[in-house]
Amino acid sequence: MTSLDRLNQIVPPDIALANKALSVSMLQITGIASMNLPQFANTVTNIQTTYGLPLITNATTAVPSNSANAIVSKLGTGGGNNGTITISDAMGTIAGVVSANAMQNTINITSTMNLGNLANIYIDMTATSNGSYGDITSGPITIPSGPANGIYDNLYAAFNGQSISGNTGGIGLIPAATSNVIPSLLTAYPDQTANLNSNWSNMAAQINSEKSIQTQAGVNFSNLTPNSTSSIFSFVLSLPTYGQDTTVGGSAQFLEAVADKTTIGGQAIVATLRQGQSSLGATGIKPSTNIPSNPSTPPPLANLLPAQPPYPPPITN
């Protein structure tokens, strides 16, 4: 490079400075060195700019942060990096995503709690409904013990509470459950119930996510085409590609979870996923995995309409 201090010695200083500034500026143009001047001139002549779009021209960032945030907050609700959506976010329940573990946790947690009173109030509900505590139509219904004990005029009163007759009514089965039994458990087992709520909230969040993503994607499972053979073909042909998505919550993990591995078909699905993951294709080793799809005996050819005139062609005058 001929720097400005040298150029000043060769040409007049103002011309030197203008040239050096222009040189510095033009060298910032991506790929300019690979073009000749006529090509570049043509490019410059025809290039479009953001003139007349002041909000774009004067922006201080390539994408305003509020625009980026708007997209992320609206769409980035998934469990992937940056909130990206995985197939497990979109239809994970069938694969046991969240719910399989949450249900197991529920079983484990409740095994550490004494839920006898809870079971008893449900048993009282059964006994009340099936007539064990009195005629459900004509009454009276007598619940002998527990937080709902009392004499009720009828089934409705037994569940909701006695309020109108002179019977010595109790508070009713449902109020007994919601105001007595369950609050007592919340008090007695604060950690367990909090943990249960966390697990169940997670399951609710999962199905909310699935519904939301399916709505955004315009996918309504109840409206899909039944018995669509072509969709099965397409799915099978895409399995190797699905297998390459080995991210958490991605296609491979999801399909492994729903493949019925007690059947050869389910195992074949997993095997096809693995073919997609296999690195063999990038090597010189050729697996013998492709079955010819053309018939072994060529089908007979049809007699089609002649595409050539007879020879010699008819003489035209």
């Binding site: 720097s3 010695q9 040409v11 103002d14 400075l17 203008a18 040239n19 222009l22 500026s25 143009i29 073009m35 000749n36 006529p38 490019t43 410059v44 002549t45 479009q48 953001t50 980026a68 997209i71 992320v72 990206t84 959506i85 197939i87 979109a90 239809m91 069938i94 249900m103 529920t106 947690i109 839920l115 449900y122 099936n130 409705y156 459950a177 919601t178 369950i182 919340l186 249960l196 709520n197 909310n208 519904k211 939301s212 499972f221 039944p226 669509s228 053979t229 969709s231 397409s234 099978v236 895409s238 699905y242 729903v258 019925d260 059947t263 074949a268 699905i269 096809t272 995995t289 079955i291």
Partner: protein
């Protein structure tokens, strides 16, 4: 066109066509069954079944499904109040199974083709959506903190040189092959101009004679047609002085060889003056300095050069490295 299939794909297809091979996750179903067999859950389900048989009032029945939905739904198998899916007469464990089955069923029962369609559509949607999400996130950092403006991004930096692209383009077109864009570091030097002349048409004798008469070193003059010729700064200064005297027919020959049609080029030295070679666009020529500020190279229509741009040119452009 027939597709090539692997044995595994053929086997998978054979099963899928008969609605086998895909099912609701076994561990999930097992855990649901285990939960439903917990004593308090069995008692709850018995209670609800008997209440239905007894024709318990509908609004009361609904309360049985939602006993602890706001406090601890696991204790009553209630759908959590935070769920957006909330059928009134359904327990949560049943809802989960129903949702899972809906992904693999049509009106006629189990139908894995429904799963295939939904899965494919959602994978496709996710791919597109994720490209928007990731682009939005990356947009905040991908330039590494250097942003010279949307016009610059949009034009590959061309508008950083001249925002009036149409006028500048016309001026550039009139210059034919004057500038070698792969030699921009030498822009403005007589040697760069002579090299370009040699490249497009050769050094005509009148030019060599003018340089020789002006006092350029003889060895330099005879080597000017060589592509890798080097010339001392003192000789280049003499060459520039000689160019200021090259006019008339010789200049016309030079302009013709280079393809220059720019008006008002009065001497060969004018070809080294941006003010002269960009007559319609020199006032909007700019340079972005190391301070990130874009400045005009010329201050006015008379071609006064903006001396402040010097302060913000990179050091490598200012001084010869020793």
């Amino acid at each position: 066109m027939a597709s090539t299939l692997t044995p595994f794909q053929v086997t998978a297809t054979a099963n899928l066509l008969y609605n086998e091979g895909i099912s609701v996750n076994a561990e999930f179903l097992t855990n649901i069954v285990t939960y439903n067999n917990l004593p308090y859950v069995k008692d709850l389900k018995n209670a609800i079944a008997n209440a239905k048989t007894a024709n318990l009032a509908a609004n009361t029945l609904v309360q049985l499904y939602s006993l602890a939905e706001n406090t601890c739904p696991a204790l009553s198998d209630s759908i959590p109040s935070t769920s957006n899916i909330h059928p009134t007469e359904e327990l949560f464990s049943d809802l989960l199974v129903q949702i899972a089955n809906s992904y693999i069923s049509s009106g006629s029962g189990k139908d894995v083709s429904v799963f295939c369609q939904g899965f494919s559509a959602l994978v496709g949607y996710n791919g597109v959506t994720n490209s928007f999400i990731n682009s939005a996130v990356n947009s905040q950092s991908y330039l590494g903190g250097v942003f010279t403006g949307n016009d610059s991004l949009f034009t590959g930096g061309i508008t950083d040189v001249n925002v009036c692209t149409s006028l500048w383009g016309s001026d550039l077109q009139a210059l034919g092959g004057l500038i070698n864009l792969s030699n921009l570091a030498e822009l403005g030097t007589p040697l760069a101009l002579v090299k370009q002349l040699a490249k497009v048409g050769g050094i005509i004798p009148e030019i060599s004679l003018a340089f020789a008469n002006a006092g350029v070193n003889h060895d330099t003059v005879v080597k000017l047609n060589q592509p890798n010729v080097t010339v001392s700064d003192s000789d280049q200064k003499i060459m520039y002085a000689a160019m200021t005297q090259i006019t008339g027919t010789t200049l016309t020959q030079v302009l013709t060889l280079l393809g220059v049609t720019t008006p008002n080029i009065n001497t060969m030295a004018d070809l080294l003056n941006p003010y002269k070679i960009f007559p319609n666009s020199f006032q909007s020529l700019t340079v972005t300095g190391i301070n990130g500020v874009t400045q005009n190279i010329y201050l006015d229509s008379a071609g006064t050069v903006n001396s402040t741009v010097k302060q913000y040119l990179p050091l490598v452009a200012l001084n010869t490295l020793s």
